[in-house]
């Protein structure tokens, strides 16, 4: 006898049904344009993500004048590359140095610079990260496989208002003569949050 799988079509999980019901009611009441939902999803799945931030970082590595501008007026310098708006209205860029490494957290919710990094990863919103980042940052970095010299001070920045923070990691050694495109490929999302470092160039 062939297996019957009809039940799989009726047993949609609770959240799927709950969100679908909500969406239906909101559309029927005229509060939302269903087509707008598709545009929103497509935007954050295909257009706004950490490659934007990587381009900002690569430009700063390649162009000292841009770097100065970025550190002085992050919002304007980032907007000049076409990234602005929701959850990045007020941008501050923090430059890592051998003496100081920045790591960004939002202990109160999930504040994150969307125009340059996209939507936050699950771990960024999780209780372990939000609890431990401000008390044991080196332990958190160890979870990411990152160990920093004892002489480097870690500065944890808790995003408690509407200022959004982007970390400018240090340019890896051995990248002299790299184009901005090549540099951007070395920039990881986590290096712009401060829980990671840029990739080393391939030998």
């Amino acid at each position: 006898m062939a297996h019957e799988h009809d039940h799989e079509h009726s047993e949609l999980d609770e959240m799927t049904l709950r969100v679908r019901a909500l969406e239906t009611v909101l559309a029927q009441k005229g509060y939302i344009d269903p087509a707008a939902l598709d545009v929103l999803i497509d935007t954050y799945q295909t257009q706004i993500g950490p490659r934007n931030g990587a381009r900002v970082v690569a430009r700063a590595w390649a162009d000292p004048a841009y770097r100065d501008w970025l550190l002085r007026d992050g919002t304007a310098a980032i907007a000049s590359l076409g990234y602005s708006g929701r959850q990045g209205e007020h941008m501050v860029v923090l430059a890592n140095t051998p003496q100081r490494h920045h790591m960004v957290v939002c202990t109160l919710c999930s504040c994150y610079p969307w125009p340059v990094l996209g939507l936050p990863p699950t771990w960024y919103k999780s209780a372990p990260y939000r609890s431990r980042a401000v008390k044991d940052p080196r332990g958190v970095l160890a979870d990411f496989g990152v160990t920093l010299p004892e002489s480097t001070e870690i500065r944890v920045v808790d995003s408690t208002a509407e200022v959004r923070y982007l970390v400018l990691p240090m340019r890896p050694a051995g990248t002299e003569g790299f184009s901005e495109t090549e540099l951007a490929e070395l920039v990881t999302r986590d290096s712009m949050i401060g829980t990671g470092l840029p990739q080393e160039p391939a030998r």
Binding site: A21, Y31, T43, K135, A161
Partner: protein, 220 residues
Amino acid sequence: MSYHTHADLGGRPNAQAVRPEPETEIFHAAWEPRALAVTLAMGATGSWNIDMSRAARETLPDYAQSSYYRIWIAALEKLLAERGLVRPDELQAGRALHPAAPVARVLQAAAVPAVLAKGSPTERAATTPARFQVGDAVRTRAQRVDHHTRLPGYAHGKRGVIESVQGMHVFADTHAQGLGEQPQWLYRVAFSSTELWGDDAAPGFSVALDAWESYLEPTA
């Protein structure tokens, strides 16, 4: 105190490891992007502000047990019910049963790029001089407040130094309560680890956060 937030997690005991994920892994179920989009689209109607959303989320009794997008949906349902925009029987039925209430705006698909690119800036023109300057020593308020606030518990009653003056910004505490923007100067304040966590704090780090002027008092 009648207001209780479940979201103030900084420094809470937590022995769990942080689990890194690849850059492309943003959603973990097909309903999550729908939850995101429906939350953003309803936010765009102007029926509440972002601080009211945060207050609705952080006061959910099952906050600690819920995934992030489940929190978003539960808070969205709460905000809709409070304003009479959607009633519980409609969520149960999965269709509209009552007439729509008016909303200020409806986000149309064609307007999405422009609306996202504009965002909702919170900086306002300065109307008073800033009370503090970079390098000033301050102490954060020690007392709890009975409403949404953005001063984390771990930073109550702590001595820090003003590191940056960030402009005048909409005050989250009043904005969340429907008491208006009441902009205040915002500062980035840095704290030593020992000030926050005592003499046995882990070595080699410091913490900075953004604090509105009324969270701060000068210290000698």
